[in-house]
C-alpha cells in the first residue's frame, strides 16, 4: 500500500505491506532506529513517537494508519543541532543508564509537559505510567522532567 507520511518535517512516500507496524516502518523502511521495541503488548513505551502532536506507541499502530499524518521521532527532536530541553535535562540529571527506554521516555515526557506544563511529582510519576525503565528506578527521570517544567518547558 502506498502511504505518505511527514516524518520529522520531511514527506516520505513508501509502499508498505498492510501489516507493517508504524515502528517497523520507521525503523526498517526509513532507518530511524532511535525508536525502540521493548515489548509486544503495548506496555513498555520504548516505541513512543508523536503523531499529529500526540504521544503514540508506534508498535500499536499500522504504518497505513499514519498515512497523511505528521510523525515526530527522537531523531526529529533536536533542532539545528541543539538538544531539546528534555534531552538536555535527561543528560544533566542522569535520567538514563542503558538508554534503551530513553527515546520513548523523552517523547512521552515532552508530550506530558505539553498537556500539563507544571506537573507536581505525583503527576509526573503518573504521567510516566506508559513507559517502563528497568535501570533508574525513575528517580532521576522524574527529576529531569521536573527540571524542564520548572525552567518553563520548551
Amino acid at each position: 500500500m502506498k502511504i505518505s507520511v511527514n516524518v520529522n518535517g520531511c514527506t516520505r512516500e513508501s509502499d508498505v505491506e498492510a501489516r507493517t507496524l508504524l515502528v517497523n516502518y520507521l525503523r526498517d523502511e526509513l532507518g530511524l532506529t532511535g525508536t525502540k521495541i521493548g515489548c509486544d503488548t503495548s506496555q513498555c513505551g520504548a516505541c513512543t513517537v508523536h503523531m499529529d502532536g500526540k504521544a503514540l506507541k508506534s508498535c500499536t499502530c499500522l504504518a497505513v494508519q499514519a498515512d497523511g499524518c505528521d510523525v515526530t521521532t527522537i531523531e526529529g527532536l533536536a533542532q539545528n543541532g541543539d538538544l531539546h530541553p528534555m534531552q538536555q535535562s535527561f543528560w544533566d540529571n542522569h535520567g538514563l543508564q542503558c538508554g534503551f527506554c530513553t527515546p520513548g521516555m523523552i517523547m512521552a515526557t515532552t508530550a506530558l509537559l505539553t498537556d500539563n506544563p507544571n506537573p507536581d511529582e505525583d503527576e509526573i510519576r503518573h504521567g510516566l505510567e506508559g513507559n517502563l525503565c528497568r535501570c533508574t528506578g525513575y528517580h532521576n527521570i522524574v527529576k529531569a522532567v521536573a527540571a524542564v517544567a520548572q525552567a518553563g518547558g520548551d
Partner: protein, 799 residues
C-alpha cells in the same frame, strides 16, 4: 581540577538521548536473513517427530532446520559446577535446538530462516511437532520427592547437586543450648530480569577463512568468545570475533551462553548469509534466564540479650529444566558464603540442594545469590527481635561485626579463606536512623495505630560481596576459568588517551568513570580520554561486567596501566632533561594538567598529554633513552587478593491499607558504603535502580507457573515490573570506608540496592502488622496476600 569524586555528566549520553546509539536490533547487514524459532509449548515432553514441509514451502523461506541438523555442534557448557572440580554435579545443558526431549516451555526445537522476519514468523507457525507430553513438576522441593516426574536420567530425584558450607555440628549444638530458637520457612520467589532490551544475535561467517563475526547482547563478550571457541565449535579463538553493540541493560541475564546464540552462529555457516535473531518480549519470558527461586528453612538461635548464637539454613534452589551457564554457582558460593551478613554469628551452617524442575533456566539476576542470602539473614534477625520483644535496631547492633574487627573472617570458615575487608556498620546505621528520625517514627506509628492505620518500618543492615574475583579462590569454588580483569592504556601522538578494557558497559557509565580516573591520574581532560570496550577484536581479554566488579577489578587494571605510563613518561622526561629518573616527578596541577618535571626546577617541565608533549616524544620515538620502546602503551592484568565488602543500612517506611492489604511506600532511606566513589551521580543512579528492583521483588514481581509448567506470568501484562507511580523518590546517604584490598579503595556499587532493599520492605510490612502478631508473609506481598494475613490475624489485633 580533580574530577574523581565529582558528579561528571556521562560521556555516553549524547548518542543515547538523540537515538543515534546502535543497539543490536538497529544493525542490519547486506544479504541478511532472519530467523524465528519454534519453541516447546509443553514444560515436559518427548519430541516424537517434526514435520517442516509446509514451513519450507512458504515463499521467502531460506531453510527450516531441527536439532538433528546441529548434532556436530557441542551442547552448551556449564563451566561452574558447584563446589569445585571434584564435587559431584549432575550436569545437563541445552543444545542449539533440543533433539529428543524438552524440560521447560520455550525450549527451541526447530527454526525457520527467511528473507524477512515476518515471513519467518509466518512459516514457523506451520511446523508440526508430534509431542509425547509428560507430567511436569515446578516446585524444587516437590521435585525431589519420590514419585515426582524425572527430568534427566543422570539426576535421580531431579537433584543436580548437594552443597554445604559452615559447620553443621556446631550449629546444631548451639541451637540446642540457645535461649530461643526461631524457625521459619522463607520463599524467595522466582524473578524475571526483564532488561528493556531483549536478547539478540547477528552472525556472519566468512567461508574463505572460516571466521565468524558475532554481534550479540553480551555483558561478557570475551567469555562468550571463549565458550564459542573452546567448548561449542572447537575452533581457535581468532576465528570468532564477538561484538557487544550498545546494550540495553542486562541485570545478569546477558552474561550467559544461550542456545539461540549458538543456533544463529551455526546457521550463518549453514545458509552462507548473515543471520539475525532478535528475541521478542514474549520469548524473553520463557527463553531468557530467571533469578532467585529458593525455598529455605531457617533456624536461628539467640540468647535473651539479643546475641545470635547460630544460623542454620537449608535451601532448595530451583535451577530450572536445564542448566544455564553458571547456574550451580549462584545458590552455593554466592549465597551460602554470605550468610553471616554484617554479623558475628558464632555458628553457621548452610545446606543447598540444587534441583531440576520443569521451569525456565535460572541463573544470576542482579545480586545473584547475595540478595537471597541477605533476605534470609535480615529476616532472621527480625524474627529474633520479634521473638525476644527487642527493637530490631538493637538486635542488629548487638550482633554487628565491630569496627575494630576488620579484616573479619566469618565463623566456621564460611568464606573459605576470604575475609571482610573494612567496615563501620554502626556509622551507616546511625546516619540512616538520623535521616529517618527513628524515635519520631515510632511515636507516629503508635498514634496511627490508635486510628486504625498501619505504619511500619523495616531495616536491612546488609553487606555484600562485590568485585567478585580472586581467580584461585573462584577456581576452588568450581568456576572453571579466571576472574581477573585487564586494561590497555595508550597515549597517542596528539596526547589523547585510549583505554581499552575487557569490561562491558551496558548502562553503568564506564566510559565516564574510567575517563575520570584517567583524567585525574594522567592530568588530561575528560574529552581527551576515549574508553573502548565490548569488541573482542581490539580489547584485551576480560571476564565481563557483573558482580559489581568492573571498577573494583577492571578499574584497578586501568590504574595499574596508568602507573606504568607515568613511570615511562618520567623516564622519557629524565632523558630529555638529562636528569636522573629519581629526580623527575609526575605532577598534576590544580588545573588538572599533568606534566613531568625535574624536582625543584619548574622550568624543566613538559606537559604529558598535549601535542609535542611527552606523549608525542614517546610516540615519535625521536629521542628515547637507551633501549626504551617507543609509545606510551601499557597493558595490565589485575587479579585482586580478595573480594570487596560494601555495606550499609536501608530503611523503608510503609503504610498498609488495612481494608485492601495494599502497601504504600511512604519513604525509602538508603545509606550505602561502597568504598571510594569515583562518580557519585553514577553510584546514586545504580542505587536507585537497584532499590527499585529490590522493592519490586518484595511487593510485585514473581513468576507464576501452573501445575503443567505453563508460565502464567508470561508478559508485562501479568508480570509487574515497577512503574514510576508505584515508587517514591529515594533518600540517599553515604559513608565512605575505603577497601584496603585495592589501590583505588573502591568496593562496587552495582547491586547494593537489589541486595539490600527486599528485606527492608518485607520487614517494614511485617512491622506494620506486628501488633496483629504477624511474624512473616511470603513475597511478593501482594494486596491479596497481605489482606489474607490481616484477616487471619485480626483476633490477635483485637486482643
Amino acid at each position: 581540577m580533580a574530577v574523581v569524586g565529582k558528579a561528571v555528566k556521562r560521556k555516553e549520553d549524547p548518542r543515547l538521548i538523540t537515538g543515534e546509539a546502535r543497539y543490536l536490533e538497529d544493525i542490519n547487514l547486506p544479504g541478511m536473513t532472519h530467523i524465528a524459532i519454534l519453541r516447546s509449548p509443553h514444560a515436559h515432553a518427548n519430541i516424537v517427530s517434526i514435520n517442516t514441509e509446509a514451513a519450507a514451502a512458504v515463499p521467502g523461506v531460506v531453510g527450516v532446520y531441527t536439532g538433528q541438523d546441529f548434532m556436530d555442534v557441542n551442547p552448551l557448557p556449564c563451566p561452574w559446577p558447584a563446589g569445585g572440580p571434584d564435587h559431584p554435579n549432575n550436569i545437563n545443558t541445552p543444545r542449539a535446538l533440543e533433539v529428543e526431549k524438552v524440560t521447560h516451555i520455550g525450549a527451541g526445537v526447530a527454526v525457520v530462516v527467511a528473507e524477512d522476519r515476518a515471513t519467518a514468523q509466518d512459516a514457523v507457525e506451520l511446523i508440526d511437532v508430534e509431542w509425547d507430553v509428560l507430567p511436569a513438576v515446578t516446585d524444587a522441593e516437590e521435585a525431589t520427592f519420590d514419585g515426582a516426574p524425572q527430568l534427566h536420567e543422570n539426576a535421580p530425584n531431579n537433584v543436580c547437586m548437594e552443597w554445604d558450607c559452615g559447620d553443621q555440628e556446631s550449629a546444631d549444638a548451639a541451637l540446642t543450648s540457645s535461649d530461643v530458637v526461631v524457625r521459619q520457612r522463607l520463599r524467595n520467589q522466582r524473578l524475571i530480569p526483564n532488561p528493556m532490551e531483549t536478547r539478540g544475535c547477528i552472525a556472519q561467517h566468512e567461508p574463505v577463512n572460516g571466521e565468524y563475526t558475532i554481534w550479540m547482547t553480551s555483558q561478557a563478550p570475551h567469555v562468550h568468545r571463549l565458550l564459542f571457541t573452546a567448548f561449542i565449535f572447537e575452533v581457535p579463538e581468532n576465528k570468532v570475533r564477538v561484538i557487544s553493540p550498545q546494550i540495553g541493560g542486562g541485570f545478569g541475564a546477558k552474561i550467559f551462553m544461550y542456545p539461540e546464540y549458538v543456533l544463529t552462529t551455526a546457521l550463518s555457516k549453514t545458509v552462507g548469509r548473515p543471520v539475525k535473531w532478535v528475541e521478542t518480549r514474549s520469548e524473553n519470558y520463557i527463553a531468557t534466564t530467571h533469578g532467585r527461586d529458593h525455598v529455605t528453612d531457617v533456624e536461628v538461635g539467640a540468647n535473651r540479650d539479643g546475641s545470635i548464637t547460630a544460623l542454620k539454613v537449608k535451601t532448595y534452589a530451583n535451577l530450572g529444566g536445564i542448566l544455564s551457564t553458571v547456574a550451580p554457582g549462584i545458590p552455593t558460593t554466592l549465597y551460602g558464603r554470605m550468610l553471616s551478613g554484617a554479623y558475628r554469628f558464632p555458628n553457621i551452617y548452610c545446606h543447598v540442594t540444587g534441583v531440576y524442575t520443569n521451569t525456565g533456566m535460572v541463573d544470576a539476576y542482579r545480586g545473584a545469590g547475595r540478595p537471597e542470602a541477605t533476605y534470609v539473614v535480615e529476616r532472621a534477625v527480625d524474627l529474633v527481635a520479634s521473638e525476644l520483644g527487642m527493637d530490631p535496631v538493637d538486635v542488629r547492633r548487638k550482633n554487628f561485626v565491630p569496627g575494630d574487627a576488620f579484616p573479619f573472617e566469618p565463623s566456621n570458615n564460611l568464606l573459605n579463606g576470604l575475609s571482610y575487608d573494612s567496615g563501620d556498620y554502626d556509622k551507616a546505621l546511625d546516619m540512616a536512623l538520623d535521616m529517618t528520625g527513628y524515635e519520631d517514627f515510632r511515636a507516629e506509628q503508635a498514634a496511627a495505630r490508635a486510628e486504625g492505620r498501619y505504619l511500619g518500618i523495616g531495616f536491612s543492615t546488609y553487606i555484600e560481596i562485590c568485585g567478585i574475583a580472586p581467580s584461585a579462590w573462584m577456581f576452588g569454588e568450581g568456576w572453571g576459568a579466571g576472574l581477573w580483569e585487564s586494561a590497555n592504556v595508550r597515549m597517542h601522538i596528539t596526547g589523547d588517551v585510549v583505554v581499552t578494557t575487557g569490561s562491558q558497559s551496558h548502562g553503568q557509565g564506564h566510559e565516564t568513570s574510567v575517563a575520570q580516573l584517567v583524567a585525574d591520574e594522567l592530568g588530561v581532560s575528560m574529552d581527551q580520554v576515549h574508553v573502548q570496550h565490548s569488541d573482542t577484536l581490539g580489547t584485551p581479554f576480560g571476564y565481563g561486567t557483573y558482580g559489581s566488579r568492573s571498577t573494583a577489578v577492571g578499574g584497578v587494571a586501568v590504574w595499574r596501566s596508568l602507573q606504568r605510563i607515568k613511570e615511562k613518561a618520567k623516564a622519557i622526561a629524565a632523558h630529555e632533561f638529562e636528569a636522573a629518573v629519581e629526580d623527575v616527578e609526575y605532577v598534576v596541577n590544580e588545573e588538572g594538567v599533568g606534566s613531568v618535571q625535574v624536582k625543584g626546577s619548574p622550568d624543566q617541565s613538559k606537559v604529558v598529554g598535549e601535542f609535542m608533549g611527552i606523549a608525542t616524544s614517546a610516540a615519535g620515538g625521536w629521542s628515547l633513552p637507551g633501549d626504551m620502546e617507543p609509545f606510551l602503551d601499557e597493558t595490565s592484568y589485575y587479579d585482586p587478593p580478595d573480594c570487596t565488602y560494601p555495606f550499609g543500612t536501608h530503611i523503608c517506611i510503609v503504610e498498609v491499607d488495612a481494608e485492601t492489604g495494599g502497601v504504600d511506600i511512604k519513604r525509602y532511606i538508603a545509606v550505602d558504603d561502597v568504598g571510594k566513589v569515583i562518580n557519585p551521580m553514577i553510584v546514586d543512579g545504580q542505587v536507585h535502580g537497584g532499590i527499585a528492583q529490590g522493592v519490586a521483588q518484595a511487593l510485585w514481581e514473581g513468576a507464576q507457573y501452573d501445575e503443567n509448567g505453563q508460565l502464567v506470568s508470561g508478559s508485562l501484562m501479568d508480570y509487574a515490573i515497577p512503574r514510576a507511580d508505584l515508587l517514591p523518590s529515594f533518600e540517599l546517604g553515604r559513608t565512605e570506608t575505603p577497601t584496603p584490598n585495592n589501590p583505588l579503595g573502591v568496593k562496587g556499587a552495582g547491586e547494593t540496592g537489589t541486595i539490600a532493599a527486599t528485606p527492608a520492605v518485607v520487614n517494614a510490612v511485617v512491622d506494620a502488622l506486628s501488633h496483629l502478631d504477624v511474624r512473616h508473609i511470603d513475597m511478593p506481598l501482594t494486596p491479596s496476600r497481605v489482606w489474607e494475613t490481616i484477616k487471619s490475624h485480626s483476633n490477635g489485633g483485637n486482643s
